[in-house]
Symmetry: D3
Subunit: 215 residues, 6 copies
């Protein structure tokens, strides 16, 4: 059974409390928080202030995904406002090892996020240092996109890398996860699933989370 991480990006921002409380009442373990700066990705979503509000209500693990340039400038601020995990992109971190150590030294779980075009093997020298690999199965920046098929192969490659390197990272899949493809994704090796519109667009979001978990 996969860990489910509903993404707040797909929630109704007029009534965030309700959205967060719905997640509280569900089987989801994590709450996925997509931070975008309009530089690394062509969209601005939200930042520490919104997370601070969410933290007051949520009972789940805050899984923060930084789609921003030079993320290390903001590690401290995100920790203060409630992040439990910080995921950063290999594509924008020329000093990735240092950044990962810094996240872990703050007592948080560290994840490395990887864009659709980046090969799995690029992770070979960092895989033993991270707690999570966040595999982008759509292009980062917007919700509601379709799952990129070759992600299935990539999940398998990353799984194999984890085994070979005797690493312990969880594989989390972000983008286009649906009730239809969740089983195949988990079968390929995913440990966790981010889900946005599949959850928040459902008539019964709590039930959708249950179904994803049991896919």
């Amino acid at each position: 059974m996969a860990i489910i991480a509903p993404s707040l990006l797909a929630a109704n921002f007029l009534k965030l409390q309700e959205a967060v409380e719905m997640v509280n009442s569900s089987e989801a373990e994590w709450l996925h928080l997509d931070v975008m700066d309009g530089q690394f990705v062509p969209n601005i979503s939200f930042g520490p202030m919104v997370i601070e509000f969410v933290k007051k209500v949520t009972t789940k693990v805050c899984d923060v995904h930084l789609m921003i340039e030079e993320p290390s400038r903001y590690f401290e601020q995100f920790k203060k406002t409630g992040a439990d995990h910080i995921n950063i992109h290999i594509e924008t971190c020329p000093r990735l090892h240092q950044d990962i150590q810094q996240i872990k030294a703050m007592g948080l779980k560290a994840g490395v996020a990887i864009n659709p075009h980046s090969p799995a093997w690029l992770l070979s020298d960092i895989i033993r240092d991270v707690d999570i690999v966040l595999v982008m199965s759509v292009n980062p920046g917007f919700g509601g996109q379709r799952f990129i098929p070759h992600t299935i192969d990539k999940i398998k490659e990353i799984k194999q890398l984890i085994v070979e390197k005797d690493a312990h990272a969880l594989i989390n899949i972000d983008g286009g996860v649906t009730l239809e493809n969740a089983a195949e994704i988990v079968a390929a090796g995913a440990d966790a699933l981010v889900a946005g519109s599949t959850v928040f667009g459902a008539k019964d979001p709590v039930a959708a989370i249950h179904k994803l978990k049991n896919a």
Copy 2:
């Protein structure tokens, strides 16, 4: 009587709809929306997605303040999601005249924002082209700061510049506006007041808006 522009930055983001509806029910004319990218200012607030939600509920003019690098990349997106005004910073716009024309060509009101250290005279060759001068009376990036006293002089200088140049821009003051200092600010020449914690931190926000308006 000044135009009042409550800043959503000070609202409860767990219950944005209530905050927006409170403003709807008040005498405020504008709703001030502070967009920060973590690059031009050391904070990330929110972007087009949040504004799109706000737009569904608000009956007020959406006064968007872009504290971001190269803002022209996002004009179209902010227009689509509901901006009525777009304010951009003279400190980060080497092609300011072009950017202002572009905002106006989209049918929106254009404002130029000016940081505390930038002299009023820097506006001399753009003042006739803008609809609004957004005078930062605190440093951009965070709510809850105290009004910088020399802003009073700056308001007077900008007012004088507007008269000299036969311009029509409104002067909007952003930061540290309180029930105590509002009258002095208006007397110095302000046409509009942004107010964050003074409104959203009040027991009766609608009454606070009323008092600001009649300061």
Copy 3:
């Protein structure tokens, strides 16, 4: 027989029309257009305006090579002025998959360009999405350089990758292609050859194109 793509960079810019008409009268299928911004490469060549003039005269496919930072800002402009192909560099595109999809969504062919030091397998997760791989056999930025010998190995590796991944991309070689080495390059797996001085520096450019094609 390889596709031949004469590079306008080596033409006489005082008489571009003659150069374009010479190519029209030849067996070349593509016209290669090298756009440099002085940031990604240490030279500024030309941009959309020149391409718009070329498009008025050429009867060939316009194969545009963007050696510029953040190329996605200019996709629309290059499409409007006549690009049929847009090639972008893996070295400067942290969101390469998205950029490639965007080019294809505009109805153009999309190419990924790869610098001499970048390994072929960096393309493993994008090769199925592109129409062209533009292999730099010299360093981008200037015409008239000598072919880097290890490119032969790289062509073979990319060919193998295409086969393994069941991809359909054409391999185009850019830099230092001569009448002497063309046959070896094609034998290694190249589908297309960019040629600058070999064509425009020849006494009979049309004949040079013919010879390259039959190398």
Copy 4:
């Protein structure tokens, strides 16, 4: 009588030699060359290579206008390929005094370009060091725009600054100069006029140059 500087940006790039020879045969003293990098302005025009070709044919002074980031990186290259004047923007040169000295130390004339929104007084501490002030009367980046009316005031202010500071800089006006407004511009204090479409869009460009000169 003003110096006339036809801007090659408005010429037919398919037949540059004809355009340059037309200017040779005219009363124009300077040939204006607009270099854009797609970063400082939202367009890429052309660079040193095109200027090198132009230099082979022109008999006029090459007045190069760098609309590029960090222009000092390219001074040497532009000198080599034929620049007689180099104009750089105050908006993108935090070390403007040094850059101007560097241009002059290479034996070239140095100009400072100023965008429409920048006040004339910003030039007060550099005016004595430059040979030319290039006043943008449209926004840099594209040809064919209309003259911004407040430029007339700005020309007068710069003229006054030159007198006050006992400086010797020539005032050159760039953008939207026509047969209709040339006289007023010269009367305000302009020493030179850049003209693009007014020259190259005319039936008789040589005659248009003559008329501008005698406006």
Copy 5:
């Protein structure tokens, strides 16, 4: 009598301790420390590590001059390693007021540095907030340059601004100060003089400091 601030940039870096001890034994009050990052200026000098060593020996006030991009990233580090003053450039600080407050909030003296081409009146809205105005009388980046004559006018203008605004900032002059021109500089209004080669290039540096002080 002016404050004298010998600049370590002109010292023998093979024997820094001797240089620092010479300054200790002199009438100089400050030790000027030029930090360059190779980005804001075209040279890399030294950083916090060198200052930490100097601090172990010096008995003088450490006057740190940051010629670096986004200096606020390094305030904390420079404080820790011994800075008493931090001077930052108006040309590279779009949030100058905030940066100045931050330096002062750390218990240090804050200075604003101004390049040769920047007009004195750009300081009008920050002059009351700073402890020091560091007037560049050469272009930042290298030692051993000649004093730019128009600096004398600029010193007078800044002095007048200080008086008008009832401010308390000291005026410190950096670059090309010699035994010959020191008196004129002080007469124009300077409170402090940075001196590099004039001190460290002298046969008797302590005597040179004495002469500068009594110029």
Copy 6:
């Protein structure tokens, strides 16, 4: 026996001459010089000026390690001030092949530096062109860190790559090298060892160098 390259970063900067002369008197072959710009790494160390002083005294090969953005801007300056080797980072050089050729064309040895998270195979298409691979066994930016264990595997992988590609590059290890781990590092394939605190923190630095060499 490995080449030993004491890193000046760990020396006493108050008495650099003594440090350099100690190295002169030792069995070390190279002197490692760490240049940091505060941009590529979060620290500023020193630049060409310090190296120029060192060069006056040292009898060893100057092995310069550029931890800076766009290093090619400074190649000329480092050559002039005495560099014998220039090492640049694959993580910040999108045109790495060109940069390496440029270093070699100046008559210097060229090295490619690789951060802890970057896989060895990223070097496959540049390994034949470089004289040195500088393997970071700590994160660049500060001295005194502990050796990252997986570096041992990386050294073996790079050694294998060198053999496979019939390349001639030396492998130099930078960070956390001690008397305890030196033997294992050399056994894994290292040709040279950078040593900072192990040398300069020793009671007898010359003896420490001797021991490292014979580890």
